[in-house]
């Protein structure tokens, strides 16, 4: 693998830093892969997850660019948000779409590629989704643990919790009934009372009240009363309608999996039917945590990604 540190300018003239990784053998796939930084974890991602993925993909013949968005990693620029949740929200609203498009443009000129795949974990995945609708040279998205919701320091997460997440927490609380330390936490006001209250409320609602009516499914007239990102569904359908490919991979122990199911899939079941399995592939890795810390989870994720890549992006460069 040939590794080259690179810099390029974004639309505002700020220098972005990255590492270009290219195959050294005769393999040279037509598609180039751009890794988009997750949150503040820069171009390597937690525990060098992107490096591990990149090494594998370059071995298959893909050219890879990993780079830092402005104000993060080694790149120029500043981030003025004081709270991480507010920074995450701005990313979920498209803060780094322009940087991504600048990277696509740079890669197109420097390595003569015209077909791109965006890959990312969490904030990197949503940035990829929102960027894909702006440039038709982007043919695919590999999204790991993509957030469907909007974060923010003013968002009440306890009030927007999904049923799946609540069930898991409930099981955790049930296990703690006989644990004196947990009772001590409860009695010394260290427990999260809003979560406990919500679990009780949800159980009472389940027994006494009819289930809530499903939300409207018209993707062009989204009326969302919770913390769902209103940009998410339209961006997914725009990609699918132009036959771009999406592979979402979730982690079984991650609340994002339930959020995707309850705040996206359940609302757009009918619209999604025609794309599932073909343009849209969705997998969940059992037990895995958000950052896919264990090697067995990483291997499963890389195997799923590899098989999706070989099915959809296997052409060699002409």
């Amino acid at each position: 693998m040939k590794k080259t540190p690179v810099t390029f300018k974004n639309k505002n003239g700020l220098t972005l830093h990255g590492v270009l990784e290219q195959p050294v053998n005769e393999l040279d796939k037509a598609t180039a892969i751009l890794f988009l930084s997750p949150g503040i974890k820069m171009r390597v991602a937690p525990h060098q997850l992107y490096n591990k993925m990149s090494r594998h993909f370059v071995g298959l013949g893909y050219t890879v660019l990993r780079f830092d968005f402005y104000g993060l990693g080694d790149s120029e620029g500043e981030v003025t948000e004081k709270m991480l949740a507010d920074l995450y929200r701005s990313i979920q609203e498209g803060r780094y779409v322009d940087d991504t498009l600048s990277a696509v443009e740079w890669l197109s000129k420097e390595v003569n590629k015209n077909e791109f795949l965006l890959a990312g974990l969490c904030g990197g995945a949503i940035t990829g989704l929102l960027s894909a609708e702006k440039d038709t040279r982007i043919h695919g998205l590999l999204g790991l643990g993509i957030p469907v919701i909007l974060d923010g320091s003013n968002v009440d997460a306890a009030n927007n919790i999904t049923a799946g997440h609540m069930n898991r927490l409930q099981k955790g609380y049930v296990r703690k009934i006989f644990d004196p330390k947990s009772w001590m936490r409860l009695l010394t006001f260290q427990s999260d009372y809003r979560i406990i209250f919500n679990i009780l409320k949800k159980n009472i609602r389940k027994r006494l009240i009819a289930p809530e009516a499903p939300s409207p499914t018209d993707i062009n007239r989204v009326q969302i009363n919770d913390n769902t990102n209103p940009l998410f569904a339209p961006a997914v359908f725009k990609m699918l309608e132009r036959d771009a490919k999406i592979n979402f991979i979730f982690s079984g122990s991650d609340r994002l999996d339930w959020e995707y199911e309850e705040k996206f899939v359940s609302r757009y079941k009918n619209e999604l039917n025609q794309y599932e399995g073909e343009a849209l592939s969705v997998c969940t890795i059992d037990d895995a945590n958000h950052i896919l810390s264990l090697p067995k989870w990483q291997k499963e994720m890389i195997d799923i990604s590899t098989s999706w890549l070989s099915k959809n992006f296997n052409d060699n460069k002409v």
Binding site: P5, G73, D74, E76, N289, S293, L294
Partner: protein, 268 residues
């Protein structure tokens, strides 16, 4: 206007990635090699490192930030690291800075958390010609590694709902030649033991110019910081900062109290 160059250096088999910051206006002909913290602490605090490098460059210092082997964009595997390997990387970075920037009259070190402890280890083995700035050095390596293993227990709780293997069992696994995966980092017994053996209470050094900046919730000096500062003849400053080396609610772009303490000490 920034003059920052990403580069690779070191031996051909395992190259180290670094970013060289060169002052644009006045140049003090003094350089710093930055020694980053351990495992995921490096990523959480990366931007603070970058901001502090830019601060020093504004003042006229040349800075080389680099990734240890098994970190960032450097070659090598985390599982192969141990204290001697960290020390070798820092020495290689000093050599590279000296050879590539011939104008430098002295080169100092800046380290944070375990990076500060590694920097101090370098000072034990060779004379460092420039100032040495240590932010929150890890004094007790054994305690630090036990805390690190605790993250493994938290992961077990979150994923399986119970702790299947306690710390003692994890160490036994490493002793059998297995890796223990903590937050995605494969920890081998050699690295675990060598870091556990760090005990800065035994360090002495009368050569060089040292600053220790203690980080905490109050400005009250801790005994271990006072003892260390006395044993290496360092100036001790105590500042209040949030623990930005791990996930907290705030986004730490720069650590003003830490960097101000260092800037004041450098005489600006």
């Amino acid at each position: 206007m920034l003059n920052e160059t990403p580069l690779y250096f070191g031996d051909d088999e395992e190259q180290l990635f670094g970013v060289l910051h060169i002052p644009v206006s006045h140049n003090l002909n003094c350089g710093f090699v930055f020694c980053h913290p351990f495992a995921e602490e490096k990523l959480w605090s990366h931007r603070v490192f970058v901001s502090f490098a830019r601060k020093l460059v504004e003042m006229g210092y040349t800075v080389l930030r680099f990734d240890h082997r098994g970190y960032g964009d450097s070659d090598g595997a985390f599982s192969d690291m141990n204290v001697q390997a960290y020390v070798r990387d820092i020495t290689a970075a000093i050599d590279h800075l000296q050879n590539s920037q011939q104008n430098l009259n002295s080169i100092g070190l800046f380290g944070y958390r375990l990076g500060a402890s590694f920097a101090l280890s370098v000072c034990q083995q060779q004379e460092v010609s420039g100032p040495v700035i240590l932010w929150d050095p890890i004094v007790d390596g054994n305690r630090y590694m036990q805390e690190f293993l605790r993250s493994h227990l938290s992961t077990q709780l979150a994923v399986y709902g119970e702790v299947k293997e306690d710390r003692e069992q994890l160490v036994q696994n490493m002793n059998k030649g297995e890796y223990v995966n903590v937050e995605g980092y494969d920890l081998a017994i050699e690295q675990f033991n060598s870091i556990s053996e760090i005990n800065l209470k035994n360090v002495t050094n009368n050569k060089g110019k040292f600053l220790i900046v203690q980080v905490g919730r109050t400005e009250k000096p801790k005994k271990q910081s006072v003892d260390l500062s006395q044993s290496i003849n360092a100036q001790l400053e105590c500042v209040v900062e949030e623990p930005f080396w791990r996930e907290i609610k705030q986004f730490y772009y720069q650590a003003n109290n830490l960097s101000d303490a260092a800037v004041n000490w450098l005489g600006h």
